[in-house]
Symmetry: C2
Subunit: 418 residues, 2 copies
């Protein structure tokens, strides 16, 4: 018999054992009173099992409101449950209803967070994971020996298709590997996706014809399902190889459908993720989240970046990158997307702490605001990564690399420049 | 020009004005450095406008981790923004990326919560709302003068299709109006949806043929898109009129597709919602959430119940019911679904505080654990609602209604029985 295993961080005014019982019951066979067909045999087969309980500490105040009874002592720790696969089958929305459903509402808990999950092999039969992933993306970009360097079209909104193409032309001529739409920009009246695709892909095809270098552009298709399908067809016709999806707001079922019906790389944007993770006692860890989306087949997934402009500490970002580079079902690798306030200055720490170049490294201001221009901005980031991988300090490498030197001078003083 | 308006609860180590600027910038034209095509004209047209800033109080400690700079003073209050509709068009996933995207990650904020939103009429052209809603559900159930009384099949998992049908037979013979699958039960190996639909609908059709009363059964179709479509076809063939969807995990795009391609009532289960709302300084209020799902076309939407077994206080539940009964685009009414620990004892307070009978009132133990049996359990709930609407106390009404008297005796002492 196969099981789905899930680990929760739990805080409770009860004992951890009682909290684990409440969790296991609510999310499997639970009935608050015995009902006629609820036999001991049925419970033995379908009830979630408590696999592990680990007390960490006791606190004097509840993290979340609404727990009962009021108490002066709250036990905190980890609870691991095993759910029989037979309860839900290989059905992602119902897996989520089981692992991340009503349990957040339990009054027996004053903190509840899904921190990890482990799925049985049957899920790998049903969900085949990323179509392209890291290797497929590298094969299209023809970049193997360093992170892919990318950027975001800015301003986020307001540009016409033709203006977008002007920005894209500057970027591809400057040597960029990857460009993406902003998540706020999908198919608005002032920049409809079909017109943008035509204008942008003309530039990218033209550059590829002249130089042999194909720049990947992630078009944000997030929309109604039929519009996404129609836009994918247009992208394919135009020779595009990548689309972008706002994962949380397109949702799992439509994403899974796209994965199986879309021949493009799917760049996964996690906007809205902060809502699920920023309150320490609620929601879920990225470790669990990224497994769900890799299973569903995302090819790239945003992880923030070191010294970012958002709330997330570096340790959390490093853990996210590490988690994404662990195999799932022996593979299912998706490319971590580094972004937010990046300019190359973060390359040494990122490499030192993560020991990987399998990254899509996005910079906005780090490219556009380089004092020598966009091409120099891109070169400076590449140079920063060369130095990082070679174990040479940026200051030393900058002595022979003027674009890196200019970046260090311009962004390095602020240390948080973008 | 049309605008999407959104109100946020915000806490910040900066001033509320600076926090509002950060929010407006990040979620519209924002670039951290000026880029060539970011003109004043473009900003004037596409930038989110700050409509209102209301300071409530100042706190000494941040609610969420990761805000900058460290401070001894955090301003709290409301910020209302207006986003030009032209930025996103009538595109629900991109609307959400705008209203509930990266903003939760801003380091300028130490609390951030979407509390309300107001959409321009253009959205009503694109999204036509509930197909059935309150009136359509009443017309199918032929129940007009009281809440619909419903229940959930328990145990949640483990029953076979035949066992499910046995429970359903008992319930329909006992006079139930509505029955639903549990959210943990969709299409598992031990109870595949097609077999369950055949077994259950045979009972419901038979009862309708004999008595003229059609009992609505909400089959949980949450699954891959193609499986949902296939299962809807089976449900239609079997004469079913309602399906259930785990809204957060099926997701907006697939749900919207179902709304336009599914002839059934869609019963919306909000499992996972606790993750979005239970931390007071993060996520969103139900007031905003229910507008999104009514726009997308949900016919029924769970709101918890008074004196529930979960964490949510009564005031919050009352506000949810109130919000759902406010018109959206002049209508778009969906039926609030009351559940969790209900037995009829909550009817007087529910009616007194909400002044409505347009509810789907679900009870589990409140029906199955009634000392005189299931039929008496259902009658007792109806009687409790008769008393509530008539303004008669349950104790007084129970003097002439023995099933209510038994319920009062059995559940009333515990006061939180189910």
């Amino acid at each position: 018999m196969s099981f789905v295993r899930a680990t929760y961080y739990v805080e409770t005014p009860l004992t951890l054992e009682a909290a684990a019982e409440a969790l296991a019951s609510e999310q499997s066979t639970g009935t608050f009173i015995a009902v006629p067909l609820e036999t001991a045999e049925l419970k033995a087969r379908y009830r979630a099992r408590i696999e592990r309980i680990e007390l960490i500490e006791t606190r004097s105040r509840p993290t979340l409101p609404g727990s009962r009874p009021a108490s002066g002592s709250y036990q905190c720790g980890f609870v691991e449950l095993a759910f029989p696969l037979e309860n839900m089958g290989c059905n992602l929305p119902t897996l989520m209803a089981t692992l991340a459903g009503n349990l957040f509402e339990l009054s027996e808990l004053s903190a509840i967070r899904l921190v990890d999950l482990d799925l049985p092999d049957e899920f790998a039969q049903a969900y085949t994971g990323p179509r392209f992933g890291i290797q497929g993306t590298r094969d299209i970009a023809q970049v193997y020996d360093r992170p892919l360097i990318g950027t975001i079209i800015k301003p986020s909104v307001g540009l016409s298709p033709e203006q977008t193409a002007v920005v894209v032309r500057e970027l591809v001529e400057a040597g960029i590997d990857f460009i993406k739409d902003d998540e706020l920009m999908a198919n608005p009246p002032h920049n409809p996706l079909p017109a943008r695709a035509r204008a942008v892909m003309r530039v990218i095809r033209d550059y590829a014809d002249r130089t042999g270098k194909y720049v990947i552009y992630a078009f944000n298709i997030s929309d109604r399902l039929e519009d996404m399908i129609r836009h994918i067809e247009i992208l394919v016709e135009e020779g595009a190889r990548c689309c972008m999806v706002s994962l949380n707001w397109v949702g799992i079922a439509a994403f899974d459908y796209l994965r199986r019906n879309c021949p493009l790389i799917i760049h996964g944007h996690r906007n809205g993720w902060g809502m699920m993770t920023r309150a320490p006692g609620l929601g879920m860890d990225f470790r669990a989240y990224q497994k769900i989306w890799r299973l569903a087949g995302v090819d790239h997934l945003h992880v923030n970046g070191l010294a970012n402009k958002f709330w997330e500490p570096d340790d959390s970002v490093v853990r996210s990158i590490h988690d994404m580079l662990q195999p799932l079902f022996g593979g299912y690798f998706a490319m971590p997307v580094i972004s937010s306030g990046q300019w190359g200055g973060q390359a040494p720490d990122t490499y030192r702490r993560c020991r990987t170049i399998d990254l899509l490294y996005l910079a906005g201001g780090g490219i556009f605001a380089h004092p020598h221009g966009v091409a120099a901005g891109i070169r400076a980031i590449r140079e920063a990564w060369e130095a990082a991988v070679a174990g040479i300090s940026l200051a030393e490498y900058a002595q022979t690399h003027p674009d890196l030197a200019a970046a260090l001078h311009h962004f390095g003083t602020a240390r948080r420049g973008r």
